[in-house]
């Protein structure tokens, strides 16, 4: 489904600030794979996400989705295959537009946007049913501006908007990191349910080790722009936080350094 082949990216090439953001990354996702991504600060996790989604273009290597080489396809065209939820709850929704208008924008993912009305009786019914599945009452507030919602509600809405049109790939970039524990738990539960129900091919960056182990069928660990460990389905079943940290020290020769990491 998703193929990342020897992809590299340098930041500030040719200057004193040159930094290896990603080096020779190799990653293959089968349909329905749910891969969690962990790693220390500056490991290249977000760069990997940005390269897959097309926000950045790789300096070398190829990316293909469902057999299509998308390495040079611009972000807005690639969006037809990729749903994304950002870390910042403000980033995934338009605050001055209503819930149903935000849903209408998401509903048209990858389709031509013309002169037909975005919110009609028919689409409103679809949006209400979808919102109802979140179980937080947003279906009763469809005319409310999204800017009035709490961070947790906005992130739940972002998640729904990113997934309900069933994109080929779902990218989650620490999408629960900015929420308080109770709301983070809610969004995590919703993520799990939605990914399982729609069988979405998912890549999720997280700082929560316990979450990284509990969720998904595969796990990758990154450090200094490299993917240093890939844990496949069989081995992931009996992975623990201690063993994961041990593996990290063994491979990288240092302790996991991340001020935000949550061991769970």
């Amino acid at each position: 489904m998703l193929k990342v082949e020897s992809v590299s990216k340098l930041f500030n090439p040719g200057t004193v600030d040159e930094k290896i953001a990603l080096m020779n990354a190799e990653l293959h996702l089968k349909k329905g794979d749910f891969v969690t991504v962990i790693g220390s600060n500056g490991a290249g996790k977000s760069t990997l996400m940005n390269l897959i989604s097309g926000v950045m273009k790789p300096d070398a290597g190829n990316i293909s989705i469902d057999g299509n080489n998308v390495t040079l396809v611009p972000e807005h065209k690639r969006s037809q295959w990729i749903g994304r939820v950002f870390q910042d709850p403000m980033a995934g929704t338009a605050p001055r537009m209503t819930i149903e208008e935000n849903m209408a924008i998401a509903y048209k993912r990858g389709l031509a946007r013309g002169f037909s009305l975005g919110v009609t009786g028919k689409t409103r019914k679809i949006f209400r049913e979808e919102l109802h599945r979140l179980g937080i009452g947003l279906e009763n507030r469809m005319g409310a501006k999204v800017g009035l919602l709490s961070g947790g509600e906005r992130q739940a809405l972002s998640l729904l908007m990113a997934t309900f049109t069933r994109p080929q790939i779902l990218l989650l970039d620490e999408h629960t990191a900015a929420l308080d524990p109770a709301r983070a738990e809610l969004v995590t539960t919703l993520t799990e349910a939605i990914v399982r129900e729609l069988n979405l091919t998912t890549l999720m960056v997280t700082h929560n080790m316990e979450q990284a182990i509990r969720l998904g069928n595969r796990l990758i660990m990154m450090d200094k722009g490299r993917i240093i460990l890939q844990v496949d389905e069989d081995r992931k079943k009996d992975l623990t936080v201690e063993r994961l940290l041990g593996e990290f020290e063994q491979i990288s020769g240092k302790k996991m350094a991340d001020d935000r990491v949550v061991l769970g």
Partner: protein, 303 residues
């Protein structure tokens, strides 16, 4: 007095199209477009010159809209494809249009006195009202379509709308073109109603447009697109009323009006921000006291 008030109503309605254009760039797209100072004149010039040469004034008006759209297209391309800062793109086009407008006019001032006019046989106030309502309703509808919503999303959160597959370069170009089409149309209507077009008729028009937007939103609110477009039409009329009244003050010249407009805008921008800051400070103080009291209350109960 009555004559100047009906005059203000008439020009307010004709300028309303321009204010709606400014609303599209400044409010919907969050793109501070200064092309309007040039494109307003472009509209007036195209309409005047075509009408004088014998073309139907209605076709001339249509061409004025198209000419404005073309100017907006250039600004949009400079900003999105040329990666030039938005403000600068507008300023560059505004300056370029000054020369272009003189080319279109052929001389600094063109009179429409002996030419056909769209306001022949129709009261300009009624015609202006019709134009304003048609454009207002049209925009209300447009901003509810998929394309219109992608324009709103571009101004509101462009990162988000790209992640859903909208091409924000395209939405910006469409929005700026539409905005300048309305501005140029407004310039054409003003040329018809004043029976003249000249090379400087657009100077400072951006400030008048902004003032109309800000006054309208401050008085009538802008919670929904429907409310906002109505507020801006009314804001344009109120602005022209203020203008008419200020002109009747003995010691003020017509040339002082740009200064007065700037002062109105400064006031309208500063007062709401200051009021908001004061209000949130008051709320914070009250809530802190309430929280403190509730904690003391619990402690008191324990003792």
């Amino acid at each position: 007095m009555l004559v100047s008030l009906t005059g203000a109503l008439e020009s307010g309605l004709l300028y309303a199209l321009m204010a709606l254009g400014v609303f599209i760039t400044f409010r919907i797209l969050d793109f501070p477009d200064l092309t309007v100072d040039g494109s307003f004149t472009t509209g007036g010039a195209i309409a005047a010159v075509m009408t004088i040469s014998g073309v139907s004034p209605w076709i001339a008006l249509l061409c004025a809209f198209l000419g404005g759209a073309l100017a907006g297209l250039c600004t949009g391309l400079l900003h999105t494809k040329g990666k030039i800062n938005g403000l600068l793109s507008g300023i560059i086009m505004m300056i370029a249009l000054y020369s272009i407008n003189l080319r279109i006019l052929g001389k600094p001032n063109v009179s429409l006195r002996n030419a056909d006019n769209i306001f022949n046989g129709i009261d300009p106030i009624i015609a202006g009202l019709l134009f304003a309502i048609i454009i207002k309703v049209g925009l209300d509808w447009f901003f509810k379509t998929d394309l219109g919503m992608s324009l709103r999303g571009t101004g509101d959160n462009n990162r988000m709308i790209r992640s859903f597959g909208a091409n924000t370069d395209r939405t910006i170009i469409i929005g700026v073109s539409l905005s300048n089409a309305l501005v140029a149309g407004s310039g054409a209507l003003i040329a018809f109603s004043s029976n003249a077009a000249n090379a400087t008729m657009g100077v400072g028009i951006i400030v008048a447009g902004l003032a109309s937007v800000i006054i309208g939103e401050a008085i009538f609110g802008a919670k929904t697109i429907f409310r906002a477009t109505m507020a801006i039409v009314l804001g344009a009329i109120i602005y022209r009323l203020i203008y008419a009244i200020a002109l009747r003050v003995g010691w003020l010249d017509a040339s002082d009006m740009k200064l007065i407009t700037s002062i109105i805008i400064i006031g309208a921008l500063i007062i709401p921000t200051a009021r908001k800051a004061m209000k949130s400070k008051a709320v914070a103080k009250r809530r802190t006291e309430e929280v403190m009291n509730s904690i003391h209350g619990i402690n008191g109960g324990d003792r």
